[in-house]
C-alpha cells in the first residue's frame, strides 16, 4: 500500500478511471455500439439494427472471415513448426551460434511489416519463384511475421526446462528422437499452446504486409474492414471489426482451455 489516506486513494482511483476508461475501454465499446447503429450524428448512436451484422456475415465479408481463419491457421502452424524447431536447435548450439540464430529469427520483428510485404512482393514476383497473385504469398508473409514470436516464446520456455528429465531419459537408454517426442515436447506443450494463440491473434489482425500483397480473391478481414471504412460504410466496417475481435477472442479462449488441460497432466 503506497497511499494510506482514504482521500488520497479515492483521488488516485478517480484519476485512474478518468485516464483509463476514455482511452482504453471506450474505443472497444464505441465499436460495438456503432456496429448496431445506422446513424451517429449526436452524442449517441441511433437507429438500432442488426443489418450490419447481416451484411458482415454473408458474401464478401463471410469469405473474408474464412480467408482470415485459414490464413491465420496455416501461418501459425508453419510458424510454430519452424519456430520451435529452430528454438530446439538453437538450444543445442554453442553460445555464439545461439546468439546468431536469435538475431536471425528476431529480425522480422524489427523490420517494418510493410517492408516485409514489399520485399516478399519483389522476391516472389520474379523467377524462380512466382507466387504473386496467389494466396500463398499472403500466407507466407504472415508466417514470416509471426515466426519470430513463436521462436521467442518457445526458446524462453526451453531455458526454463529442467534438464534432469531429459538426462534421466537419456541415461535410461532413450534415443534423442524418443527424448524429444516423449519428454521435451510434452513438457513444452503449454508454451507451444501459448505461442500458437499469440501467432493466431497476430495473424488475424495483420494489415500492413497484407495490404501490399493480397490478391483480389484472397482478402483477409482487416483489409475488408479497411475497404469498407474507406468507402464510407463505417457501421458495416465496425460490425466486421466486432466479428474479427470475437473470432480472435474465441480462438484465444479455446487455446487457453487446452493449455490448462495440458498443464494438469
Amino acid at each position: 500500500m503506497l497511499v494510506h489516506s482514504r482521500k488520497g486513494k479515492w483521488t488516485l482511483w478517480t484519476l485512474f478511471l478518468v485516464l483509463f476508461v476514455p482511452l482504453f475501454a471506450l474505443p472497444l465499446l464505441v465499436i460495438v455500439a456503432a456496429s448496431f447503429a445506422t446513424n451517429w450524428s449526436g452524442a449517441f448512436p441511433s437507429g438500432p439494427t442488426f443489418e450490419n451484422y447481416a451484411s458482415a456475415t454473408r458474401g464478401e465479408s463471410l469469405r473474408a472471415l474464412t480467408t482470415s481463419l485459414v490464413t491465420a491457421l496455416v501461418a501459425s502452424l508453419l510458424a510454430l513448426l519452424v519456430g520451435s524447431w529452430a528454438a530446439l536447435a538453437a538450444h543445442a548450439l554453442s553460445k555464439k551460434g545461439k546468439r546468431l540464430l536469435d538475431t536471425l529469427f528476431m529480425l522480422p520483428v524489427a523490420v517494418p511489416s510493410v517492408v516485409v510485404g514489399l520485399a516478399v512482393l519483389v522476391a516472389f514476383s520474379q523467377p524462380p519463384f512466382l507466387l504473386n497473385g496467389t494466396r500463398w504469398i499472403v500466407i507466407l508473409a504472415h508466417a514470416i511475421l509471426v515466426t519470430a514470436f513463436a521462436y521467442q516464446s518457445v526458446s524462453a520456455a526451453i531455458v526454463r526446462l529442467d534438464p534432469a528429465y531429459e538426462q534421466a531419459a537419456a541415461s535410461l537408454g532413450a534415443r534423442p528422437s524418443y527424448v524429444l517426442w516423449r519428454v521435451k515436447l510434452p513438457l513444452l506443450l503449454p508454451s507451444l499452446n501459448a505461442a500458437a494463440g499469440l501467432c493466431f491473434a497476430l495473424s488475424m489482425g495483420e494489415l500492413s504486409a497484407t495490404m501490399m500483397l493480397y490478391p483480389p480473391d484472397w482478402m483477409p478481414l482487416p483489409v475488408r474492414i479497411f475497404t469498407a471504412t474507406d468507402r464510407g460504410s463505417l457501421f458495416t466496417g465496425s460490425a466486421v471489426a466486432v466479428v474479427l475481435m470475437g473470432a480472435t477472442l474465441l480462438v484465444l479462449l479455446a487455446v487457453s482451455r487446452v493449455r490448462t488441460r495440458a498443464s494438469y497432466r
Binding site: M1, L2, V3, K9, L12, W13, L15, F16, L19, F20, L23, F24, L26, P27, L28, V30, I31, A33, W40, S41, G42, P45, V82, G83, W85, A86, A89, L101, L104, L107, P108, V109, A110, V111, P112, S113, V114, V115, V116, L118, L121, V122, A123, Q126, L140, I144, G205, E206, L207, S208, M211, I225, F226, T229, D230, A241, M245, T248, L249, L252
Partner: protein, 264 residues
C-alpha cells in the same frame, strides 16, 4: 538446419533483392541515383520528420501514462484491478487499426464528442477536428501502445519487495518520495525495455496511419505503401524501405543491448 534455410529463403533473400532493387533505376544498371532522387524529394524529408517526431512523442506519452496506470494497479489496488490487468493483456491481441476506427466515432466530425458539443451549444460543428492531423495519429498510437509499456512494468512491480515500501512509509516518507526513490529505480529497466520496443513499433506503425486517411500525415511505412502500390514506383519504394529498415534495425539492436544488460 532446415528452419534456417527456410527463413533465409523467404526472408533474407527477399531483403537482399529489395536492397538490390533500390540501387536499380528504371533505365537499368546499378547506381546510387535513386537514393539521391529520394533524399532530394521534400515529401520524403517531411515523412521522415513526421515519423520520427510521432514515434518519439508517442513513446514519451506511453511511458508517462503507462507508468502512472501501472503504479495505481500495482500499489493502490482496487477491487477489479486484476480484471483490468487481464483486460490489458487482451487489448494487446487486437489489431492497431481498430483504435483509429473507434476514434472516428468518438472524435470524428459527426462522432460522440462533437455530437455532444453541438447538442449542448447548438453550434453547427464541434471543436474536435484534430483527427486527420498528426495529433490524431499520436493519440491513437499512445492508446494502442501504452499496454506494451504497462505489461513489463507490472511484472517489474510485482518483484519489488513491499517491505521496503512499508519501511520507508513508516519512517515518514511521503508517496511521491517513495515513488521517486524506491519504485522508479526498480522500474527503470522495464521502462527502458518497454520504451524502446514502443519506439520501434511506432516507427513501423502502418495500420493506424492508413485508417486515419489523412493526406497531411505521411510516415515512412505509409510512403513505402503509396510509392509501391499507388504509384508503382518500385525503386523509390525500395529506397524508402531500406532507409526505414536501417533506422528500425539499428534501434532494435540498441533495444537488444539495453534489455540484455538489464536482464529483462
Amino acid at each position: 538446419m532446415p528452419p534456417v534455410l527456410g527463413l533465409a529463403l523467404v526472408f533474407l533473400y527477399p531483403l537482399v533483392l529489395l536492397v538490390q532493387q533500390s540501387f536499380t533505376p528504371l533505365e537499368g544498371g546499378t547506381s546510387v541515383q535513386p537514393y539521391v532522387d529520394v533524399f532530394a524529394d521534400p515529401a520524403f524529408r517531411e515523412a521522415l520528420g513526421t515519423t520520427v517526431w510521432l514515434a518519439v512523442g508517442a513513446t514519451v506519452g506511453c511511458l508517462v501514462l503507462g507508468f502512472v496506470l501501472a503504479l495505481v494497479i500495482a500499489f493502490v489496488p482496487f477491487p477489479g484491478a486484476k480484471a483490468v490487468a487481464r483486460f490489458v493483456d487482451v487489448f494487446l491481441s487486437f489489431p492497431s487499426f481498430l483504435i483509429t476506427l473507434a476514434l472516428l466515432f468518438v472524435y470524428g466530425t459527426v462522432g460522440m464528442a462533437n455530437g455532444m458539443w453541438t447538442d449542448v451549444t447548438g453550434a453547427a460543428s464541434g471543436p474536435f477536428q484534430f483527427l486527420t492531423t498528426p495529433w490524431g495519429v499520436l493519440l491513437a498510437e499512445i492508446t494502442y501502445f501504452t499496454p506494451f509499456v504497462m505489461r513489463p512494468l507490472l511484472a517489474a512491480f510485482s518483484q519489488i519487495d513491499t517491505a521496503q515500501i512499508e519501511a520507508a512509509s513508516s519512517l515518514g516518507a511521503k508517496a511521491p518520495r517513495i515513488v521517486r526513490q524506491i519504485i522508479l529505480p526498480e522500474a527503470l529497466p522495464a521502462l527502458a525495455a518497454g520504451g524502446s520496443l514502443v519506439l520501434i513499433m511506432c516507427l513501423n506503425e502502418f495500420g493506424i496511419v492508413l485508417f486515419t486517411g489523412a493526406k497531411g500525415v505521411t510516415t515512412l511505412p505509409m510512403l513505402v505503401y503509396s510509392k509501391a502500390i499507388l504509384e508503382s514506383d518500385w525503386t523509390a519504394a525500395c529506397v524508402v524501405a531500406v532507409v526505414n529498415v536501417v533506422i528500425s534495425v539499428s534501434l532494435y539492436g540498441l533495444y537488444r543491448v539495453v534489455s540484455r544488460r538489464v536482464g529483462a
